[in-house]
C-alpha cells in the first residue's frame, strides 16, 4: 500500500521500515505504526476470530476498545495490537482460530447461534446430570482468548513508579492540557496522563479551523509545547489510567518507548485533586453484521489516514450520527476516498458549513437514514441502508462502512471513584451528576464540542483543582465559569441505539459475541436491569473491559422495555479500566527478604535455604531432607545453628517490670540476675501467641527474646496492652542488632571453652543461667544455657557485625570435633523428640496455654487483671472440651504421617502437629492436638491423610517427652 507522507498530522515515518513476521511471513511497517496499522497497511483485514461464533474480526477502533485485534505477539497472548507499537522482528499470530483467521474450521458455529441463546449453559446440558461435567469441560476449553502455559514466563522489563502531586489530570486532550496549564500556572505540581503516545486528543488529527485560520491540530501542537515547557507539569504519554480510588489515588500504567528502560511500568499517583478530561469515544452503531471486517468507527477511519497515512478503504459508505462523521467524510474524500453515500441518523441539526461542503463535492447525503446490514461473508462488500423508520431501503457496493451512532463519554475514572452518572436527554449521554470529592470533569466528557468551550471547561476544572490546593480564589473560578457560559454549550446528541433490525447478528458486545437478540432473551427471562443482563449474557465481561457495549447496553435496555424515563444506570465498571498485564502490576518485583549475618557463610557450607516469614533461613545442609546426619551429629557430637532470626528486645525504665508482668503469664518480678526465665504470652482469650526467655541485665533493664514470627509485632503488643497505664518504660527492638549462635551437643562446652577466657563448667555456668562476657576483650557476648534441642547447649547472642568472626572462631575451635552445621529442619526434629513445642506448629489461633501443656508457666497468684489472658485461662482450666497436646508413636513401627493430618474416628477428633522419623529413637513419633478423651496414654489414634481414601494409619498416645525424659543431657 502506498502511504501518505505529506500530511502534517502523520505520526509515522515511511522512510524507516520495520520488519515483522505475521503467520510466518515477513512484512514491513513504518516507524510509528502500531501492530494493527502495520497489518492493515499490508492488506490484512481479518485479525482473528470471535469467541463464541468464530466470526471474522478486524480493525474497528484504534484505541483497543474490543478484543477484535487482540493477537499473540512474541508469545504473549491477548496483546492489544491497536495500542501496541510495532517493533523490529515482532512475531504475530492470530488467536482463537482453528486453521487460520481467513479459513477457520470452526466458522460454522456462526450458523449454530440458535443453539446458544443467552445463558444457554445455565439451561442446557444439565440433564442427565452425568452430562454436565463433560459439557463444562468443553465450555471451559472454548472460553477465553489466547493460550498460555502454566509455566509461561512473561518476557520484558517491568517497572513501577509512585508519585505525589497537587493536581492529576487524566487525559491529554485540549481540555486536559488547559486544566494542567491553569493549575501549573498557579504554582502547583501537576501530572498529566494521556493514554495515546502523544498529547492532543480530539484536536490532534483534525484539520478543521480552530480560530483565526489556525487548525485544530496546530492548536494541539501549540498547547502541547506550552505544557511541555513548564517544569512543574510532568507529562506521561502512552499512559492509561486503570483505577481511581479514595483520597484521589490514581493508578495506571505507561508503555515504554524504545529508549526507556521498561516495557511497561505501573504508576501510582497520590493527588490532592483530580481533573478527568477523558473525552468521548464513539458509541457503536448496532445493525446486522456490525462487526464485519470493513466496518469501522469514524475516528478509526480518519486517524488511519491522518495519523498513519493510509486510506481505510477504496469506496465507503458512512452511517453516522454526529458532525465528526461529516467532517471525517469530507477529509477522507479530499484524501482520495470514494464515498458512495453519507447516511446521517439525524434529520436535522448538522453544521450548515459541513453540509455545504458535502453538497459542493456532490456526495450523496441521506438525512434520517442508517445502515441496517453489512453484506459479505468475510469482508464488507455491500451495505444496506434504511430510513430510520425502516420504510425505505437502498443498497450500496463498497469495501468500507464507517459507522457510528454518536459519541459517549469516557466516565470510567469518575464511576470507579464512586461518582454518579445521570442520563441527560439533551446530549443523550450519561453525564457525571455527583462527582467524587476533589474531582472535576472537563471537556467533551461534558458533551461539549466547540473547541473554545472544550478548552475553557479545562481551564475552569484546573482552577477548581487549584482551589482545592489553596492556590486559587473563588473570584477567578467565577470568571472562568462566566467565560464558559458565554460559549457554546453541550451539543444535542443522537438517541438512536440500534437500526431497525431484529438483531440476531447485531452485536452489542464483540468480545463475548452478545447480540441484541441475546439481550431480548435475557429481558424475556426477567433480567430487567443492565447489571443482571450483563452477567446473564456476559455482555461487557470480555477483555475490552466493556468498551464496546458501554452505554449502549443501558440505553437499549431502557428502550426495549419502553421505560418512560431512562432511570436505568450503566453497569458498574471496575479497575482495571483498560486491560493490563499482571506483570505490569508486579512492577520491578523486588523480593524483600531478611537475611542473617551468617547467610553467606551457610550458603558456602551447602545450606539449602527456604523463605520462612520475612526471613531466608538455612533449612537443610544436605540433599537428605530427613537431616539424619545433622541430627545424629548434635546428639553425639556438636552442631552449630544460626538462630539470629529470634526476636530480641530491650525493655527498661522504672515500670519495665510492670509491663513484663502484664504481657507474660509468669511472675516476672522474680527474675534473678544471672538466670534465664522462660515464659509465654497469651491473647486476651488465653491463646498462647509467643514464648521466649527474659534476662535481667541491670536495674529495671531486661533483655528478652520472642519467636521469630512475633518479633515484628512485639513492641506494638506491649504498648497496646499498657496503653492506659501511663507507665514509664522504653522498648527497643534489637532483633537485627544481635545475631544468635546455638552451639549444641555433648561436645559444645569443649568447643566454647576454646574461645572464651572464663570457666564455663557446669558448676560455673549451669543450666538456665545467663552470662555476659567478651571474646578477646572485644566482642561482647550474652550467653544462655538452654536446652531446646535436649542437649547441652549454649545460645550466644553476638552483635551482628561480629557474628562472622565469632562463627569462624567456633568453627575453627570445633574442627577437632568435626563440628557440623545444622539447619532449621534438624532443629525441628531435635526439639520434637524432646517434645518442646514451637508455637504455630503445635498451636494455632485457638490453642491456649493449657492445651499445649504450658500451664506450669502461669502464675495463678498474680491478679488476673494484671495478666493478659489470665481471666480466660481461669475459665478454660476446667473445660474438658478443649484439645490437648499429646505425644504419639506409630503402630508396628509404621511410617510417619504428614503434618496436619487429621485424627478421626467417626468424625474429626484432632490433628497431627509435627511428626517425624526419629533417628534417636529409631521410630516415627509426633505430637498431636486431640480431644480430651483421646489424650489418655495408650489410646489408639486413627490418622487420616489427605487423599488417603479408605486407607488409614494408626498411632498410639505415649508419654512425653520421647527423648531423655529426665532432662539429664541438657543439664550435663
Amino acid at each position: 500500500m502506498n502511504r501518505f507522507n505529506h500530511l502534517p498530522t502523520l505520526k509515522i515515518d515511511t522512510a524507516q521500515k520495520i520488519s515483522f513476521i505475521h503467520k510466518g511471513k515477513k512484512y514491513y511497517g513504518a516507524k510509528g505504526d502500531t501492530i494493527a496499522t502495520a497489518l492493515f497497511a499490508n492488506g490484512i483485514r481479518i485479525f482473528g476470530r470471535s469467541l463464541k461464533y468464530h466470526r471474522p474480526r478486524g480493525l474497528y477502533s484504534l484505541d483497543g476498545e474490543s478484543s477484535n485485534t487482540m493477537m499473540e505477539v512474541d508469545g504473549i497472548p491477548n496483546v492489544r495490537c491497536e495500542n501496541t507499537a510495532l517493533k523490529e522482528g515482532m512475531v504475530i499470530q492470530e488467536q482463537n482460530v482453528k486453521g487460520s483467521a481467513e479459513n477457520d474450521m470452526l466458522g460454522f458455529l456462526d450458523k449454530l447461534d440458535w443453539l446458544m441463546p443467552a445463558g444457554f449453559y445455565y439451561n442446557v446440558m444439565h440433564k442427565p446430570a452425568k452430562l454436565w461435567p463433560f459439557a463444562m469441560k468443553q465450555i471451559r476449553k472454548a472460553a477465553g482468548l489466547g493460550k498460555i502455559s502454566p509455566d509461561f514466563k512473561m518476557p520484558g522489563k517491568y517497572d513501577e513508579i509512585f508519585l505525589n502531586t497537587d493536581v492529576c489530570v487524566i487525559g491529554g486532550g485540549p481540555s486536559g492540557m488547559m486544566a494542567a496549564l491553569s493549575a501549573a500556572k498557579k504554582g502547583l505540581r501537576v501530572i498529566l496522563m494521556e493514554s495515546r503516545p502523544w498529547l492532543g486528543g480530539c484536536f490532534e488529527y483534525r484539520s478543521r479551523e480552530y480560530q483565526n485560520r489556525l487548525t485544530l491540530h496546530e492548536r494541539a501542537h501549540q498547547l502541547s509545547k506550552e505544557v511541555e515547557s513548564l517544569e512543574n507539569i510532568r507529562v506521561f504519554t502512552h499512559a492509561s489510567v486503570v483505577g481511581t480510588y479514595n483520597n484521589n489515588l490514581v493508578t495506571g500504567f505507561q508503555v515504554g518507548k524504545q529508549k526507556d528502560v521498561f516495557d511497561e511500568r505501573y504508576i501510582e499517583i497520590r493527588a490532592k485533586s483530580v481533573v478527568v478530561a477523558t473525552g468521548c469515544i464513539e458509541r457503536p452503531l448496532i445493525f446486522d453484521n456490525n462487526e464485519r471486517p470493513g466496518v469501522m468507527q469514524t475516528g478509526c477511519a480518519l486517524r488511519l489516514a491522518k495519523t498513519y497515512g493510509q486510506l481505510p478503504g477504496k469506496k465507503a459508505v458512512f452511517s453516522i450520527g454526529h458532525d465528526l462523521g461529516l467532517e471525517a467524510a469530507l477529509e477522507l474524500h479530499d484524501l482520495g476516498l470514494s464515498i458512495a453515500c453519507i447516511a446521517d441518523i439525524r434529520e436535522d441539526g448538522q453544521d450548515p458549513a459541513l453540509l455545504k461542503k458535502i453538497s459542493e463535492k456532490n456526495i450523496l447525503f441521506l438525512k434520517g437514514w442508517v445502515a441496517v446490514k453489512a453484506h459479505g461473508r468475510k469482508l464488507v462488500k455491500q451495505v444496506s441502508l434504511s430510513s430510520i423508520d425502516g420504510l425505505v431501503k437502498r443498497k450500496f457496493t463498497c469495501d468500507l462502512l464507517v459507522a457510528s451512532a454518536g459519541m459517549t463519554p469516557v466516565t470510567g475514572p469518575i464511576t470507579v471513584a464512586q461518582g454518579k452518572l445521570k442520563y441527560d436527554t439533551h446530549t443523550g449521554f450519561f453525564l457525571p451528576d455527583v462527582m467524587p470529592e476533589k474531582m472535576y470533569a472537563a471537556g467533551r466528557i461534558m458533551g461539549l464540542e466547540h473547541p473554545l468551550s472544550i478548552e475553557t471547561s479545562g481551564k475552569l476544572a484546573g482552577l477548581k483543582a487549584a482551589f482545592d490546593c489553596g492556590n486559587c480564589s473563588i473570584q477567578e473560578i467565577g470568571e472562568a465559569k462566566k467565560d464558559l457560559e458565554n460559549l457554546s454549550g453541550p451539543v444535542r446528541g443522537t438517541k438512536l441505539v440500534t437500526a431497525p433490525v431484529k438483531g440476531r447478528k447485531s452485536f452489542i458486545c464483540f468480545d463475548e459475541d452478545a447480540t441484541i437478540k441475546n439481550i431480548k432473551q435475557a429481558i424475556g427471562k426477567g433480567f430487567d436491569v443492565p447489571e443482571l443482563i450483563k452477567r446473564f449474557t456476559a455482555t461487557g465481561l470480555g477483555p475490552g473491559q466493556g468498551g464496546i457495549p458501554g452505554h449502549n447496553l443501558p440505553l437499549y435496555v431502557a428502550k426495549y422495555q419502553a421505560l418512560p424515563d431512562i432511570s436505568i444506570k450503566p453497569t458498574n465498571v471496575r479497575p482495571p479500566l483498560v486491560p493490563t498485564f499482571i506483570s505490569t502490576y508486579a512492577g520491578a518485583g523486588h523480593q524483600m527478604f531478611k537475611i542473617t549475618p551468617m547467610d553467606e557463610m551457610q550458603r558456602k557450607d551447602g545450606g539449602v535455604f527456604r523463605n520462612i516469614g520475612v526471613w531466608q533461613r538455612a533449612r537443610y545442609f544436605s540433599s537428605d531432607f530427613s537431616c539424619q546426619k545433622e541430627i545424629e551429629n548434635v546428639r553425639t557430637n556438636v552442631g552449630i545453628l544460626d538462630g539470629s532470626t529470634l526476636g530480641k528486645f530491650r525493655i527498661y525504665g522504672p515500670d519495665a517490670v510492670k509491663a513484663l508482668q502484664r504481657v507474660y503469664v509468669s511472675d516476672m518480678s522474680k527474675i534473678k540476675e544471672g538466670r534465664v526465665k522462660y515464659s509465654a504470652m497469651c491473647t486476651d482469650d488465653g491463646c498462647v501467641i509467643d514464648d521466649g526467655v527474659v534476662v535481667k541485665q541491670g536495674e529495671n533493664d531486661f533483655y528478652f527474646t520472642t519467636s521469630t514470627a512475633r518479633a515484628g509485632q512485639t513492641v506494638e503488643w506491649i504498648r497496646y496492652h499498657t496503653r492506659y497505664d501511663g507507665w514509664n518504660f522504653a522498648l527497643v527492638n534489637l532483633t537485627d542488632s544481635m545475631g544468635v549462635i546455638n552451639l549444641s551437643g555433648p561436645n559444645a562446652r569443649k568447643v566454647l571453652q576454646k574461645i572464651v577466657d572464663m570457666d564455663i563448667s557446669n558448676e560455673a555456668f549451669g543450666f538456665a543461667e545467663y552470662k555476659e562476657f567478651k571474646i578477646q576483650d572485644t566482642v561482647p557476648v550474652r550467653a544462655m544455657r538452654l536446652g531446646f534441642m535436649g542437649e547441652l547447649s549454649y545460645e550466644l547472642h553476638v552483635p551482628s557485625s561480629y557474628m562472622k568472626s565469632v562463627w569462624l572462631m567456633l568453627k575453627e575451635a570445633g574442627k577437632e570435633f568435626n563440628i557440623q552445621n545444622f539447619g532449621v529442619e534438624a532443629q525441628n526434629v531435635l526439639r520434637m523428640e524432646k517434645c518442646h513445642i514451637i508455637l504455630g506448629s503445635e498451636s494455632e489461633q485457638r490453642t491456649n496455654l493449657l492445651d499445649v501443656g504450658l500451664g506450669f508457666l502461669w502464675d495463678r497468684k498474680k491478679a488476673d487483671a494484671k495478666t493478659v489472658g489470665a481471666v480466660a485461662l481461669r475459665q478454660a482450666e476446667n473445660d474438658q472440651t478443649r484439645l490437648k497436646l499429646v505425644g504419639f508413636k506409630m503402630e508396628n513401627n509404621g511410617r510417619v504421617p504428614r503434618d496436619g493430618s487429621l485424627i478421626v474416628d467417626t468424625k474429626v477428633r484432632g490433628y497431627v502437629c509435627t511428626a517425624r522419623n526419629s533417628f534417636s529413637l529409631k521410630e516415627a513419633v509426633g505430637m498431636a492436638l486431640v480431644e480430651a478423651p483421646l489424650a489418655k496414654t495408650g489410646t489408639r489414634l486413627e490418622i487420616f491423610e489427605d487423599e488417603c481414601g479408605d486407607h488409614r494409619i494408626y498411632g498410639k498416645v505415649v508419654e512425653m517427652p520421647f527423648y531423655d525424659p529426665e532432662g539429664k543431657r541438657m543439664k550435663m
Binding site: D159, E160, I161, F162, L163, N164, R189, V261, E268, R270, A588, H590, Q591, M592, F593, K594, I595, T596, P597, D599, V614, W615, R650, N728, A730, L731, V732, N733, L734, T735, D736, S737, M738, I775, Q776, T778, V779, P799, S800, S801, Y802, M803, K804, S805, L808, M809, E812
Partner: protein, 211 residues
Amino acid sequence: MKEIQRISPVEFKTSPLKTEKRNNWEVVMEYSGEGGGPYLVDLSHKPRFDLQDAGLAARKPFGIGIPETFGSSVLENGILVNRMNRTQVSLYCLTGQDNTGLPDEPGFTDVTESTIFIALIGKEVFSICEKLTALDFMNPERKTPFLYQGPFSHVPCQIVTLSRDKETSGILLTCSRGYGRDMIHAVLHAGEEFSLKPAGENRFTSWIKNL
C-alpha cells in the same frame, strides 16, 4: 579467621580502591568506577543511637536541642537528631572517626548494629526514590532536614532528606539490617537507569561538608 572484624550488612560488588580500618570496621573510602553520580554510600559503621524519654523537651543529647515537631530533624556538629514521636528520637553520628560512644545518660540504646545505614546522593536521587516509595520527598510543606518513617521498597525505613537542591540532593536511609542485601539490590536496580554507582565514604564526607 584470627583477626576480629566487623562486617557491614551492605555489600557492593564493586572493588574498593581505598579502605581504612576503624573500630574493627573496614571502611571503604573509595570504590573503583564511582562515576559522576548519583552515588550510594554505605555508612553502616557510623554510630546510631535511640533515645527514649517521656520528657524529651528537657533532654539535650550531645548538647543539641531536640526538634519539637515529629518528623523534623536537626543537623548540628555532625550529629543528626530526628524526632520520631512523642517519646523517641534517633541520632546519627555523621562525621568524625565513628568513635562516639553511648552517652552515659539514661534512655540511650546503641542501635548501630540494628540497621543498615546508607546515603543516596546526587541530582537524580528523588527520581530513584519514586521508583521505590510513595513518600513525598518534594512536599513543599516539609523543610529540610526532615524525617520520614515509612516504606521504601516495601520495607519500614527511617529516611532523612538532607537536601533537595538539585546537584546536592541527598537522603539518608536506615532499615533493618537483615534487609541489607535486598535493599541494596532494589536501590541499585532502581538507580541503574540514572547510572547510580556505589561510592566510598569520601563522597559522603565532601557532600555533607558542602551542605
